[in-house]
Symmetry: D2
Subunit: 460 residues, 4 copies
């Protein structure tokens, strides 16, 4: 196994068994957890710190939930910096006197940051700290005071999980079971139902890549699943069907990115999705020169909610009348099936009480309103839809809207079965990114652009 050498296993054993070099002194064994933490901070970098760090992490892991909360509170209250000292250092600080900056940085840094750094020296310390943050995040909503502890942990983890330290690795059926098992656990977009399902997703016409950190060699921090297809897929079911026939990747012209997952909750807010996608584009292009297109098949995770808001008139920019105008040409058909005069109301009704024969009636207006939702509904300066926000900021093109693309219960409930192809054109990625980030301009395929300009933009 890369990353866990025999030596490291020996070291584990050494630490486990309390060999002489690394064992805790008897008096330390008596200390409270916070006491051990203070001791660890106070020590001067000796090798025995590793044993101390290990002991602290093990004890923490053994605490019950309320004791963990108490420990976090202690970290918040007693391992922070001292305001008075800070103020003095802040007043003394001058940019042309380095020593005053060094002093200021020293006193301003919460002692728990140093604690975390020293805990990281324990075997598997990084992993333990990531898990610790998970548990901290669980408590944060109820205990905002812990926000300072979280800020410190996050600051360190962001530094340690710097993109420069991550490695892209292909994941396939030759990967260690311990890694594959985690893929199954972490896949949340299109859950994997078991080893057979997993195996299909790692077959010759599929690809999977993840970022790994050297300190967590068995954890895919983020991973993307790719299907190699002929033509851009418009439906999710065939891509995740464990029984689907395996195609010859040599004849594929398109790489469909159909699932991206962040694995470790403890790394929340530290993101590498954009790096992953673009590096995978490069990889695939190098491996399979026949590939011409790179696109996602993505959900619209807030579409159902957004549509609700649109059609009850909650969105200032887009009052119901405007939406009705956008859907004008479908009014008769929609009314005939739903009994509602307002197309907007009709759509909501039909989506809720849909019968089999409604499907063809709904298809076009649903696609158009999805376009409106994606292109116009904003959250701050970016899209209301988080997946759209992510891909468009990455430089993707809003390529195609597919109705009835995900007819699973979840797909219906969340996205009314609609899915979107975001396409990555290496030639345009940078320009698209700039246009979106600076001016909020969305790159669209020619047909969507025409549709948009004719029916939606005209309304504004």
């Amino acid at each position: 196994m890369p990353g866990v050498t025999w030596l490291e296993r020996i070291m584990d054993t050494v630490a486990d068994r309390g060999r002489e070099l690394l064992r805790l002194r008897d008096d330390e064994a008596q200390d409270s957890l916070a006491g051990l933490c203070r001791r660890l901070i106070a020590s001067r970098g000796e090798a025995s710190n590793i044993a101390l760090a290990r002991e602290i992490l093990q004890r923490f892991e053994g605490l019950d939930e309320s004791d963990k909360t108490a420990f976090f509170l202690t970290l918040a209250e007693e391992f922070g910096p001292d305001p008075e000292t800070i103020r003095a250092a802040a007043n003394a600080f001058r940019n042309d006197q380095p020593a005053t900056l060094v002093e200021l940085l020293k006193v301003v840094e919460p002692p728990r940051q140093d604690l975390f750094r020293r805990l990281n020296m324990a075997p598997h310390g990084t992993s333990a700290l990531v898990k610790m943050r998970e548990q901290l995040l669980d408590r944060l909503p109820d205990l905002p005071l812990l926000g300072s502890v979280d800020a410190d942990l996050k600051h360190l983890l962001a530094s340690w999980f710097n993109r420069g330290f991550l490695r892209l690795q292909a994941i396939d059926w030759r990967s260690p079971a311990v890694v594959l098992e985690k893929l199954m656990r972490y896949e949340a977009v299109h859950p994997i139902t078991g080893w057979d399902d997993l195996r299909r997703r790692l077959s010759e016409d599929r690809r999977c890549f993840g970022f790994f950190h050297p300190a967590l060699p068995e954890e895919p921090l983020i991973f993307v699943e790719v299907a190699l297809t002929q033509g851009m897929a418009a439906e999710i079911a065939p891509l995740i069907d464990p029984e689907a026939a395996i195609a010859d990747p040599y004849f594929a012209d398109t790489a469909m990115f159909y699932s991206i997952n962040n694995a470790l909750r403890g790394l929340r807010g530290i993101s590498f999705g954009n790096f992953l996608l673009k590096q995978v584009l490069s990889e695939l292009g190098a491996e399979l020169p026949n590939l011409r297109h790179f696109a996602t098949l993505s959900p619209l995770p807030r579409f159902a909610r957004g549509l609700q808001r649109l059609c009850v008139g909650e969105v200032a920019d887009w009052p119901v009348e405007k939406i009705d105008n956008v859907l004008d040409e479908y009014q008769d058909a929609l009314q005939a099936h739903s009994g509602h005069a307002s197309p907007c109301a009709a759509i909501v009704h039909l989506l809720q009480h849909r019968s089999a024969e409604d499907a063809s009636i709904l298809a076009e207006p649903l696609a158009r309103i999805a376009l409106l939702y994606l292109a116009e509904l904003k959250q701050g300066e970016t899209c209301f839809d988080p997946v759209a926000a992510f891909h468009l900021a990455n430089g993707a093109i809003l390529e195609r809207i597919n109705v009835y693309a995900d007819v699973s219960a979840h797909g219906e409930a969340q996205s009314h079965s609609v899915m979107v192809n975001y396409r990555y054109d290496p030639e345009q990625v940078v320009a698209n990114h700039e246009a979106f980030v600076r001016d909020g301009r969305i790159a669209m395929s020619r047909s969507l652009r025409r549709e948009h300009d004719k029916h939606i933009k005209a309304e504004r």
Copy 2:
């Protein structure tokens, strides 16, 4: 090669060739280096930052010396924090309001720290930053203003090179040439004269271990060379003789640590020597169960200087008379050979004008005064001799003093040919460390203890 996958090489190529995804925009190509840095800090984490970071590092590398100095000064002057903002945040800070801490930490952190973090994302970014610090350190004595830049770089590097991220690796004749080459370059204690010499040092009866960081997989950050011997070696020459016969390691009972080297100047002040030594002890013990003793054969790098000071009476605690008393029993012999009545003066004289026949006369008094030097001469709270300070703080025992142990020109000049065996007894390491760090008490072998108590301590 572990750590440099095919994928990574492709990535290098990608970046090199300016493929679409990672290429610099034309306007960026016009910017000044500081301008690019500002742009990098201002951007929002997009993948194109990698190209920007790479460009900055390459341009920096291409600067001439004075332009590099200018760039460092810009970093010091324009990429620091703002005192006024800091003061405001310091005044607003309250420990029970996490948001105020987050704000304070944000404004207090010099923007160049974020710059360095982003530069680290470039291919080989970590390596470039370590080299950048090397060049910064060269300028520091003349430009103390750069101290703040150095503080920031060192802070980040210390965090990234946390012991938890380092890997112990055995280095032998099967290691990549690119690593071995560095061993030759970095060995400063007993220089390696070429590939044949190197090969001998990596033979069956030798061991070499280093710490490696995943981002610098070809750089031994620190390494130790070990000879497997029967009995504790008292001379250095046989250990580093390229022609020495190779012994069977199975019959060795002693591991002699005869050279420890830090490799990267850019990591100055970030130390892992103690971790390395102790982990190597564990390794060797596991591999070779016949090993009974672990000891160093170490120089006394300040002995010549220290003796000079002792014998001219510069050391308050140890006026010349006291030293003369310590050497009392040798007075006649020394005087006969040197013409000096004071043994101290005699020794200095003889060491400077030594003839072959003086050797046997000098041996005993030289050993005794070396013991005095090691055990009594202080620098602050620790030993004046830095190697003694290192090993004793690590929990070693001052085991034996060997005169005429290093008769090379360098050994004579620096240590008057004396070397010391520091012995590591796993059972005592923790206790010795504590005693030395808390009370300044030095663990000695029984015979040195007797010698010390009888002739030296008695004097105090």
Copy 3:
């Protein structure tokens, strides 16, 4: 994945796609399979042979069953040596004229051996040949003529799978899924019910080792499963229970080898079990110095059949009366429960119509008759029981007989629930092996020896 480099995958692709260097000529594409084989044999070692070999193997794989049979028959009839030429060479042969030997060996070697050697050059050729032999073996009982083809294939495979080319590898939860999957498929002694079961068998208190060949890096040729226990296990169920609690291997004093499996049918008759077992002994001893005992928990695969034969008087050496004498002391109890006066008949009856309360009655006589079966029932010069024959020839000690050790349906049917511990004492292995192979003497534990000498040997 070790053994399948990127380069090799490229090569696969190259061959797949018929790139220029390796493509088949058009005329070759028209040939019959046997024609291609003749062409391959006739060619002079050029690189294009790889494409030819690949084509042959692919075409063979695509044949239906009857065409495969026809092809094998062609190999038997048309790719053998020529008797007349052989006789001439045999007559010309003189040991002191090397050229006559070279000529003789040349003409005597069936051309199909050379064919197989050239087929082996194709990507995955070795694997294809092993599978080809599987299919050949299936036909052998009905088509003894194919025996010559099998002899040639087996000869080559035995040479290629020489012990010197095999690698011992530990298999655990970090192994590639593609290997683990095969473990599940090949485990025939105690079938693995799924990934959860597998995972338990690879937990911290279990070990699994296999021999691998470099040309089949994903195939464990033979593997052994080991449980680390305190004391020698007497029952199989706890060792293969997926829900069993995981013990700390550090405290184990015994390694129980509870399952050994040959994986590839195509390697039938080419055995490495003895090498595997002994190398694993060394491995475990080195990894876990606390281990004191190495033993198997093995079935008696022919016990039910053998007992049947014993009790109907079919075994010349052991007429029923003698067996009755061996069981003399249990006669009353057995008769009371079974109604049979002959203990032998009683045992058979009870084993067939056993009620819960019979268990305690049966235990002792069952153990004794199992000992008789193991120690006395012969097949040629070795034991009638093949597992006993294997371990005793390997130098194991017949340590303990455990009744009710495998109460699964299969265990009852085959071994009447009895299992045996064969113990490997490194100190005695060689001597035991010699004694068994030369004189048929079985090493037994003291208590079995006593039992045997008192009750069984006495009868002879």
Copy 4:
């Protein structure tokens, strides 16, 4: 190190130290070497054979030269097959009775083949057998009787070193020193003068690939050195100049194969050069899509000798007059400088007593006679020049003749400084190979073809 795991090192130690499982019995220790060999053959595959095999190999290695000879003779005389038995089996053999074939193959196989197979089981057995054959080959010229032993060893080695078991590996500055060291030792075409020279040959604009066998993971069996250039190189000096500036491989359009070496003399007659070259073509093409041309820069190792023979009229097909005709147009110039009327004699004279100003006079006639030598001088059915024979049989094109291409003493002496570019055009390789092997037709570049047809063919 790939291929030598920790486990294997432990095994070495085990065997070294004579642990219980693998130790030799005392009586074995007394046996003669031939006696041990007989014992090994007679045994039935037990694990202790490994110790026995090891002992035999070690003892052999320890023999002095004459005892080794004696041992080889014993192998020849006493470990061969029995003629009488063979004749009986040959007479009994019928192709439709597999058992008679099995019997025949059994009795015909010299027992020493089985001995070698069993020796191969020892740790590093394969390596020892390859070395054994080296020593055997040294004796073969004087002791033709050993030919039978050599035939057996070669037969086995050829089977074991089947192309299907070899791995192509790139060799660069990241390769283990133990491998690089061998590169230096085995490079015989353009010797490597030291580590600095080696390093240059492994720089970014060079490539080196070798075939490795899993049982000899540190031995490049055959390797090729490649320079990436712009345009086809016409001189060797710049390619092997340790001081040459390093070019950017991205801009190279040509891969120059400038040195191919077989490493192990013990594998003489077992060749894989053609496979290596063609696989390296594929590799380079995949790595560097800008490469357009693949060519060698090769010596004419028998040119000097061949020219001598041509010009003294020793070659039947090409009497001196015909050669003089071929060189007709240069007669005057040659005569003016040499005083010889016959151009052929003039060339030989000038090559032997050449002054600086002769160079330009000689260039054209030298090139033309080299073409004649390459294209017309035969050895059996192939070229007299072995390098030409090799590349042309591989499907290369005789592309260009370069005079003054290797002006080293060795180049002058052997090839009169001439070198040839053989070009590999993937599109033509198969056709060229066929044409050469079937009809002796040589593929030439257009200009050489014209030159040949006009001046040389016309003569016939």
